[in-house]
């Protein structure tokens, strides 16, 4: 399917998980399609990068669940920051490990999992709904009972996939993309290249097959689909374009780069690089 067809399955008010990490292998083609749609009022669950920045700037996020939002080489995400400082969204701010165990709980159909994090910190103060659980064994230790992070839909971007939804990562880190798909009722996988199933393991080890087709609803071929975030080994982060994103007023950036489809996006990016000689 196309990115627009995938996004047409989403609805306002949904809880949406977005894979990748910071400014790394984010499903940006799907996010751009989301920005072209009128889907809004979202609860977004993400180890946040420009996916969160763009959706927050466009006013699509009602509530964010995250441990951080960063552009990595630019530590603070300016559009997310502006949204927070004008009070534009609700936030469930949790620790990275709590986030992981929330995904694990959701993937394992458990209501919660215990984690030694959060206690003693203001994560407990800003999330008054969080509960603790005491070990039933002799140690009697108290943990956070991290609630499952179930989601209506997950969006992830991978290196390769087949038409059935078997997804492969060829970079060094799987991030948590398989868990996002397992934690979601529906999952949409975009990939750099759609290949025949047999081709997946022709040159790559079987453990690169991260996402299994039974957890996937739709596959989108999206070359450069993580741009301007990184998608190792196919490409690194486009630092010049990320810098432009971080330093341009949102409306101006959106009008120039996000008004059209992916083809228009790519030609706008090309023109920007020519302007800067990068």
């Amino acid at each position: 399917m196309t990115a627009d067809e995938a996004v047409a399955r989403l609805a306002s008010g949904m809880t949406l998980g977005i894979g990748g990490w910071g400014s790394r292998r984010k499903p940006m083609a799907l996010v751009r399609a989301l920005l072209r749609s009128d889907v809004t009022d979202l609860t977004v669950i993400s180890y946040g990068g420009p996916d969160v920045g763009m959706l927050a700037a466009a006013g699509r996020i009602r509530k964010l669940v995250t441990a951080f939002v960063t552009l990595d080489s630019i530590p603070l995400e300016p559009h997310y920051r502006a949204a927070r400082e004008r009070g534009a969204l609700d936030l469930m701010e949790i620790d990275e490990a709590m986030f992981l165990w929330g995904l694990q709980a959701a993937a394992n159909r458990l209501p919660f999992l215990p984690v030694r994090a959060g206690i003693g910190s203001d994560v407990m103060r800003v999330n008054p709904g969080l509960r603790t659980v005491t070990s039933p064994y002799d140690d009697g230790e108290t943990f956070v009972a991290m609630p499952a992070l179930r989601m209506d839909a997950a969006l992830v971007h991978l290196s390769r996939a087949d038409r059935q939804g078997n997804g492969q990562y060829l970079g060094p880190d799987p991030y948590f993309d398989d868990l996002f798909c397992e934690a979601a009722d529906t999952a949409y996988v975009s990939c750099e290249r759609l290949v025949d199933t047999a081709e997946l393991t022709k040159e790559a080890a079987p453990q690169t097959l991260l996402v299994k087709r039974h957890t996937v609803t739709g596959v989108v071929e999206a070359p450069n689909g993580a741009h301007f975030t990184s998608c190792a080994p196919d490409y690194g982060r486009d630092e010049a374009l990320q810098k432009r994103y971080a330093t341009t007023p949102w409306a101006q950036f959106a009008a120039r780069f996000l008004a059209g489809d992916e083809r228009a996006y790519r030609s706008a990016v090309r023109a920007a690089h020519e302007e800067e000689g990068t």
Partner: protein, 266 residues
């Protein structure tokens, strides 16, 4: 291999003798900071050193190359690498988080704010509900502090960073850890390194103590730049000098581009 003696030997020496090498310039403040960070990992054993920031990274690599050869280091992404970059293992984020929980790690994080008990904030400045300055977010500060030793690096020591009370407790300090003795059984904040000195919590109530001054810094300078009264012993030692070998490693091998001077200017 054996020297075959070809090419490089000369039988006649007509050139004048080279001038005696001038002594290396004395250590810079940044280099004292490198040493102070490296010392955090002394006697740490076979654990992961997780430095955040330029100078902690140089310090961890220096420790790995000298007095802490068993340390594990990452390439900043998912690979465990030796001092020359040789890949020796794989540590994607999910395994990294398991390693944190297992405790075999000493992380040195940044701190936008830190208070006298070592509570650290990297989330936001002001009221969390409507911050005046949104920062990174809590990241892994809370899981770090409850599971493995967590030190901090502050490149510009000021009253904006060293505050009486942090706006959002991300990394757990000693006062809050004491309220949860079971859950905080692995809590330890070994040191805080700033561009002015080294601090620890070796006081009866685990409040911050000045452990050493970098040469050229005075106690008054530290007091002026700190938003609370740190414990100051009668005799404050200076941060130790780098050895000539350490200086050469820092300058010629680990950081020949002098990126450390961009984090702490001379």
């Amino acid at each position: 291999m054996t020297d075959t003696g070809t090419g490089t030997g000369s039988t006649k020496n007509t050139a004048p003798p080279p001038p005696l090498p001038s002594p290396p310039p004395p250590p810079t403040r940044a280099e004292y900071c490198v040493i102070a960070c490296a010392e955090a990992w002394r006697n740490a054993g076979e654990i992961l050193a997780s430095p955040m920031g330029v100078i902690p990274s140089i310090g961890a690599r220096l420790a790995r190359r000298t007095f802490a050869p068993d340390l594990l280091l990452t390439d900043g992404e998912a690979m465990l690498v030796g001092p020359d970059g040789t890949v020796e293992g794989w540590l994607p984020y999910r395994q990294h988080l398991t390693l944190v929980a297992g405790g075999r790690r000493h992380v040195m994080m940044g701190a936008s704010q830190i208070d006298r008990y070592g509570n650290q904030n990297i989330s936001c400045v002001g009221d969390w509900n409507r911050p005046t300055r949104q920062l990174l977010g809590v990241r892994g500060a809370s899981v770090n502090t409850l599971n493995n030793p967590t030190s901090y690096w502050v490149p510009r020591h000021s009253r904006r960073v060293f505050v009486e009370c942090v706006d959002m407790v991300c990394g757990v300090g000693y006062d809050h850890a004491a309220e949860h003795p079971g859950t905080a059984r692995y809590h330890r904040v070994p040191r805080v390194v700033s561009d002015l000195g080294v601090f620890d919590f070796a006081t009866p109530d685990h409040s911050m103590r000045l452990a050493s001054l970098h040469p050229g810094v005075t106690v008054d300078q530290v007091r002026d730049a700190t938003g609370f009264e740190p414990a100051v012993p009668d005799e404050v030692p200076y941060t130790r000098d780098p050895t000539p070998g350490e200086l050469a490693l820092i300058r010629e091998v680990i950081d020949p581009g002098n990126t450390r001077a961009r984090e702490v200017p001379a």
